[in-house]
Symmetry: C2
Amino acid sequence: MRVYLAGPDVFLPKPHARVAALKEICARHGLQGVSPLDSHPHEPADWSALTEARRIALRNEAHMAGCAALIANLTPFRSPSADVGTVFEIGYMRALGRPVFGWSNSAETFSERTRAFLGVAGPLDADGMSIEEFGLTDNLMIDAAILASGGALFVQAVTESARWTDLTAFESCVAAVAARSVGHS
Amino acid sequence: MRVYLAGPDVFLPKPHARVAALKEICARHGLQGVSPLDSHPHEPADWSALTEARRIALRNEAHMAGCAALIANLTPFRSPSADVGTVFEIGYMRALGRPVFGWSNSAETFSERTRAFLGVAGPLDADGMSIEEFGLTDNLMIDAAILASGGALFVQAVTESARWTDLTAFESCVAAVAARSVGHS
């Protein structure tokens, strides 16, 4: 089964090595990991006239269309939330009706991270805008989409230095996708 | 034409007044704005057993399914990027093949905002993770989806105090949706 690997992993210093590590774990569980770094076998010729950014975006959409599920790295990225490119892809796969799985190397709630980020103790930020208080991992659209899609969410606390290296929660996610895919190849 | 109004506007101190202002502008252009704050006329009875967060998420998905286009407030929210709930919804509507329009009260590029947020001048953050350098408004999946969907993007610089009040770029967006919808009602 082909699984799209969404996450800010592609921004890491050695993105190809990182993606190879993710794919190796997928392979060990009988899954084929598909990455935003992969070329696409059927790219329309007219994509070559597009900017690189647009070509990457259309390629990622095509990769998702060709995958049976999505695994998202929800580890907070430059904010209290997951990387927005990843979140876009979660919404995309959710609308396609395919299962979305998520993992994160932060075990704090979204509310806790948001308050720490803003430096406030109460329910509002400095603009008087409210903070989501649902005890979830991230914005409610993300957590709810994962559950409603038939996916699952795995979070674990890791040390700050292991934030972008520890793949324990990722492997839990892969195992859950593999268990679900039995009989659905 | 029904248009879904995505954005962190629902977190503002007076969310109902804000949504009423957005809908009034839509109505003036012949559009019906649909907000996450609206109830849904056909909620399945079993939703009442769900948590509030899940019910809100499913309701928003149902609202989107019933709208012909989406207008997203991309004004950066607690990060260099748009609100992640909004970004989820952009991905969702993009996958449904419907036009996505965006507006923002920040005219800086995503790269500029990310560097300012991180306090770095170069192409990498403190973890050695790269910064997108495409000169776009936000992560490439967002900008590219808006263009590919047939939508449009309106940005303008406003003073910090007008960040959550100025609706000039929003109205440009509404006018563009209305112009596009002529003959498609």
